[in-house]
């Protein structure tokens, strides 16, 4: 009996050591061998180191749409900003809920300190302080809203636009929490409804029948006029400011584009660039 127990304990002990030790040894062996094997057999793994280095510095490949907003033009032309806003909101059937808490914002005007909180200090010229800045979705190169979206409703298009498929939006509002620019708005109420006084949230007379509305429980944002670009038109805000050179848009990755020439010859700033989102909207202040 004693002997048997002794034997049992020995075997149990040995198998415990083997059980604990074997995976570690196995992993060591596998680690030592896999990279070589993977490189030889799987081209995707071979490309991985390149992908890692891309994150350090954005590779200038493909189209990346961006905008330059010339604040000097907007400061000189009072009402031009509002004209751009109206054009956008009419084009996209943006509702007006008449309540700043529920406000739907695609493009809007805000003060210097709200637009550029990291570049504000108490000695900025009064002239700048008095101005309203036209702000919109920054169509970031590294968009946090896309990263957090659980349904891929928000995604980055091939040409750098950050756009939404409203069908897929489940209204979780993660993107609103993620966006450092407040460029996303949630439809707390049915955009096609009326308020208590019977006022329509979207004016029926100005419905744009070529673009849908949204429904309750959906997030919305500027879509860089994806539908207009697709039909060969300029974005609505650019069109509204046509002739003033207030907004220049184009491919940031094309060294010969108009927008690159403007960027090369002017000092421009981005909103909250320090957050690392790589915004594609630039401002000449």
């Amino acid at each position: 009996m004693d002997k048997k127990r002794r034997k049992f304990l020995k075997i149990a002990g040995l198998s415990t050591i083997a059980g604990l030790g074997a995976p570690a040894v196995f992993n060591q062996l596998v680690k030592g061998e896999l990279p070589g094997l993977a490189n030889a057999s799987d081209p995707q793994h071979g490309a991985e180191p390149q992908h890692g280095s891309e994150q350090v510095e954005a590779a200038p490949t493909g189209i990346r749409l961006g905008m330059v907003i010339d604040q000097r033009v907007f400061a000189a032309n009072k009402g031009l900003g509002q004209k751009c806003i109206d054009a956008c909101h009419l084009t996209h059937n943006v509702p007006n809920f008449g309540n700043p808490k529920d406000e739907i914002k695609w493009i809007w005007e805000t003060g210097y300190e709200n637009a550029f909180p990291y570049s504000s200090h108490n000695l900025v010229s009064d002239k700048i302080h008095a101005q309203k800045f036209l702000v919109l979705c920054n169509h970031c190169d590294s968009p946090p809203c896309v990263r957090v979206c659980p349904t891929k409703a928000t995604f980055k298009a091939d040409d750098g636009k950050v756009i939404m498929d409203f069908h897929r939006c489940i209204g979780c509002r993660f993107c609103m929490a993620a966006c450092p620019y407040g460029a996303r708005s949630f439809n707390w109420r049915d955009p096609r409804g009326k308020d208590e006084k019977g006022r329509d949230f979207i004016d029926r007379a100005t419905y744009n029948k070529d673009f849908p509305t949204r429904m309750r429980g959906v997030v919305e944002k500027c879509n860089f006029c994806a539908e207009r670009l697709g039909h060969g038109l300029d974005p609505a805000c650019v069109e509204a400011a046509a002739g003033t050179n207030g907004i220049i848009y184009g491919d940031l990755n094309d060294p010969n584009s108009a927008i690159r020439r403007v960027l090369a010859s002017n000092y421009t700033i981005q909103r909250k660039a320090a957050t690392g989102t790589k915004p594609s909207i630039f401002y000449i202040v």
Binding site: F155, A157, D158, D159, I163, D165, F166, H167, R192, R204, Y207, K209, D210, P212, T213, R214, M215, A226, G230, H231
Partner: protein, 125 residues
């Protein structure tokens, strides 16, 4: 059995009442929907049978192609170009939602939420 003379006739009446609608409509599928076809256009973008069963799949595929891939290449059928779009494509021919869409959707008791956002062709709201 207690009160058998009441319970059994009661059961028979109950079963007869419950079965009445089924028996009455036996072999009758109700009024068959007749969606109004657009005038002057003979051919849809896909065969009729496919459209009948799978138009929603096609519309979803179009949406993904247009939005995700930016592929707005028009669909050409019998020399006519159609936008890959519900509002800008389908509804250009099928001009009456009530007489076309609703006809079958009501019959099959489906309520697609297209119209929560998209405008029917004769939108008056």
């Amino acid at each position: 059995m207690y009160d058998g003379n009441k319970v059994i006739p009661g059961l028979i009446i109950f079963v007869a009442l419950m079965a009445f609608p089924v028996l009455k409509n036996m072999g009758n599928a109700g009024p068959i929907p007749k969606p109004e076809k657009p005038e002057g256009v003979k051919e849809c973008v896909k065969p009729v049978q496919f459209m009948r069963t799978s138009h929603m799949v096609l519309v979803n595929d179009w949406r993904d192609e247009v939005l995700r891939d930016g592929n707005r290449k028009k669909v050409t059928v019998a020399g006519v170009e159609y936008d890959k779009s519900l509002m800008l494509g389908c509804l250009n021919c099928h001009k009456d939602k009530k007489k076309f869409c609703d006809e079958c959707h009501t019959y099959t008791a489906v309520t697609p939420y297209c119209w929560d956002c998209h405008f029917p062709p004769k939108e008056t709201l």
